[in-house]
């Protein structure tokens, strides 16, 4: 079968993803471009006897070297040399969208233009002379309506036809005006002379254009000094004539080219003054109403994710319990067979804990997909920006941090909506300080045991507040030291509001959910098994267990095992915090998942499998610790190392073990010092 490679390019908000989905259906694969955390989407489609591979390039407004997305897109086209490049254009916003097309034309790629959202264009009263425009741009033009799947066949036809043509010999080029053209010719000549390899790869005119624009990427790649010696005076010369940088003038000329082409081929019949979007915006980004509306929507997202998610979560929990019991039933009751323990405690316990969260994750991404596709996300980012900016973060950071109050894992995944790397990393680092749902089980155990009715609410609030305050401080410190740098100045397009389609929202949701299952699941499975082993071995001899009931036996076993011994070993370090080896053991177990803290503590105190509501456990705790210690326990759990799942997710989203370890170690160290100070100070003041 013949193969065709196609790259999809286009502005953000042009409906590129919808077209990608329309062309490839469910046959998609999401990964990363090598070496960068820019998402790479590939998909497949079989049509007319051809096997067509689609690569969805990042959405960009142009192909300069000033952002990683643009560089990735540009380099892909140059290095991979796709057979066809399809530029998806928002037909209702033609001129701005065609800017990218001019850059693609300059790169001399075989081009097809998809005039997407052509229904909106028609409603706006725009009429296109497609034939004429196609001739002027020397590219096939296909009107499409992505979210109604219109134009699919026509687009595929155009792709196949273009792929079979010879490489384009363009006659209609952007004319930059005599002054610039003169300089371009001069630079081109010396490039052909001195940099043949580069000229063959990139095209001499394109290189000349980039050099004149002072493109940092190309300028760095040009080795030959003589070329640069010709370029610099050219730039100065043009600077003097135009009182502005050549790159600005050239951008202007490109728009001139577009304008000229459009004047002949685009007719506007209706003047639309106030669109629906403006009306909605008048309310949504209103001074008074904007923030409350935003908070309301965030509350709804939370509700959707965790309340509604409760039902499927409950089913999954019951399923795993059932699975555990059924498998355990294969062995005689009370048997401590290794395989049984591995399957039930290790695997089902560990992995089950992760899969149980899947409904949450899916619902969360459903909510995010709806917010993004509808266009609201852009407004939300701006509303939060002022507050976030003071801390040193971007407005959009608010959303993953809010999610972190439920569970860190999806929150860290959600940090992808931040384009700026520094903002993203800073947000990811402090998300664990937004006390998650699992940590709540620890507070729910301890607070009623040590504090009286009227103090319980305030103490809980205090814990959450401390988490938030510490997060703010940490971000400030990070931004001043390790993650120094300018926050990207704020400029963002406000797309018109659109009704998100069920299909695209579901595809978004499923893609992210699948990644969660695959990546987190495999590593967490491995670590769950390791921890299970460390909690089960070495086993004390049978004689030493004689005469103990099952709970006491478990207690002894835990004390004897690696984790138990580890707990004892670190006890001296924990004493200044008011902790003992029992708490130490529970803390170690809690690295698998924070809920484990409670169950570990119950084993250590031989109260059987208790949960946070257990009175017996509470009584035992009360007997052994002071309220100050209890508070310190909660403090430590709040701040310290996040669970394994979170660490794994951090590694995945930052693409480096260094940052994941930094987060783990940093938070643990912070927890240690803060708890130390609180305990010592507290003892001093009380004692």
């Amino acid at each position: 079968m013949n193969k065709i490679n196609v790259a999809l390019a286009g502005n953000p908000n042009s409906g590129k993803t919808t077209i990608f989905n329309m062309l490839t259906g469910a046959r998609q694969h999401v990964g990363n471009y090598p070496g960068v955390t820019v998402e790479k989407k590939e998909g497949l489609c079989k049509y007319a006897g051809f096997e067509i591979t689609f690569v969805d390039l990042p959405g960009t407004y142009s192909l300069t070297a000033y952002s990683i997305e643009e560089l990735v897109a540009r380099n892909f086209i140059i290095e991979e040399q796709p057979d066809v490049v399809v530029d998806i254009v928002d037909a209702s916003n033609l001129e701005r969208n065609l800017y990218l097309a001019t850059q693609l034309i300059e790169m001399n790629v075989p081009l097809v233009l998809a005039f997407n959202m052509s229904d909106i264009a028609r409603r706006k009263g725009l009429l296109f002379d497609i034939e004429q425009l196609s001739k002027l741009l020397e590219a096939a033009i296909v009107p499409t309506v992505g979210n109604k799947s219109k134009g699919r066949v026509e687009l595929l036809d155009a792709i196949v036809k273009t792929a079979q043509q010879d490489k384009p010999q363009r006659t209609h080029k952007v004319n930059y005006g005599s002054e610039i053209e003169e300089e371009l010719t001069r630079i081109e000549a010396i490039i052909i002379d001195k940099e043949q390899k580069m000229a063959a790869k990139y095209g001499s005119r394109w290189l000349a254009t980039k050099l004149l624009e002072q493109d940092p990427d190309i300028t760095a790649k040009v080795q030959n000094k003589e070329v640069l010696e010709v370029v610099t005076p050219s730039i100065e010369h043009l600077n003097t004539i135009f009182a502005d940088e050549p790159q600005i003038i050239m951008a202007d000329r490109r728009y001139g080219f577009i304008s000229g082409a459009c004047q002949e081929t685009v007719k506007s019949t209706v003047e639309s003054r106030h669109s629906k979007s403006d009306v909605i915006d008048a309310v949504v980004i209103n001074r008074v109403l904007g923030l409350p509306i935003f908070l309301l929507l965030m509350y709804l997202v939370f509700l959707l994710t965790f309340k509604i998610g409760e039902f499927p979560m409950g089913w999954l929990e019951r399923f795993f319990s059932w699975a555990a019991k059924t498998i355990a039933a294969f062995w005689p009751a009370g048997s401590e067979a290794l395989l049984k323990s591995l399957l039930v405690d290790g695997i089902i316990g560990g992995v089950g804990g992760v899969i149980v969260f899947l409904p949450n994750i899916l619902l969360l991404f459903l909510a995010i997909a709806i917010l993004e596709d509808s266009g609201y996300m852009a407004r939300a980012a701006f509303i939060m920006d002022r507050i976030m900016h003071r801390i040193g973060l971007h407005g959009k950071s608010f959303i993953p941090m809010l999610i972190g109050f439920g569970c860190s894992m999806p929150a860290i995944m959600g940090a992808r909506i931040l384009e700026n790397k520094r903002n993203r990393f800073a947000t990811i680092m402090v998300i664990p300080l937004m006390s998650c749902g699992a940590k709540l089980t620890i507070y729910a155990l301890i607070i009623p045991a040590f504090f009286q009715e009227e103090w319980r609410g305030p103490v809980l609030w205090l814990i959450y507040l401390i988490g938030i305050v510490l997060a703010i401080i940490c971000v400030k410190v990070l931004r001043l030291t390790v993650l120094k740098g300018e926050t990207i100045p704020f400029v963002m397009e406000l797309p018109p509001y659109r009704m998100p389609t069920l299909k695209s929202v579901c595809i978004h949701m499923w893609q992210r959910g699948w990644m969660y299952l695959k990546k987190a699941g495999t590593i967490i499975l491995a670590i769950s098994i390791i921890l299970w082993a460390a909690m089960s071995w070495p086993k004390p001899s049978q004689e030493s267990l004689a005469g103990l009931d099952s709970e006491q036996a478990k207690q002894k076993q835990l004390a004897y095992s690696i984790v138990g011994r580890l707990g004892r070993t670190i006890e001296p370090a924990l004493t200044p915090l008011g902790f003992d080896w029992k708490i130490g053991t529970a803390l170690i177990g809690a690295t698998a998942a924070k809920e484990v803290f409670v169950s570990q503590l119950s084993i250590v105190y031989a109260v059987g499998s208790a949960d946070q509501g257990s009175q017996t456990l509470r009584e035992k705790l009360q007997a052994n610790y002071s309220p100050l210690t209890a508070f310190c326990i909660m403090l430590f759990c709040l701040i310290s190392a996040p669970c394994v799942a979170t660490v794994v997710m951090t590694k995945k989203e930052t693409n480096s073990w260094r940052w994941a370890i930094f987060q783990f170690a940093g938070l643990t160290a912070l927890a240690y010092f803060v708890t130390l100070i609180v305990y010592q100070l507290g003892s001093f003041l009380i004692g």
């Binding site: 142009s62 952002s67 600005i248 951008a251 728009y255 002022r386 100045p489 406000l494």
Partner: protein, 77 residues
């Protein structure tokens, strides 16, 4: 007749339409703004300029939000 001086976009009131003279935002950002349509002589209509609240402009059929720092650096007439 007084020669009108270019002023920052941030001083323009909602509803007014002005022409862009130049952007003083450094290489990369200037390039980005240019590719989004903010070029010399282009017409900009200010849609929203309330404190606090986003600074929203309309350029070539599309709406954009700018941070105030950004709006300060765009000179218009």
């Amino acid at each position: 007749m007084e020669q009108k001086q270019p002023r920052p976009l941030s001083t323009v009131q909602a509803g007014e339409t002005v022409k862009l003279v130049r952007t003083n935002a450094g290489h990369g950002l200037n390039s980005r703004l240019a590719s989004m349509g903010l070029l010399p002589n282009v017409e900009i209509t200010v849609v929203n300029n309330t404190h606090p609240g986003p600074f929203v402009i309309s350029v070539k059929d599309s709406k954009m939000m700018l941070g105030r720092g950004m709006a300060h650096k765009i000179m218009v007439l």
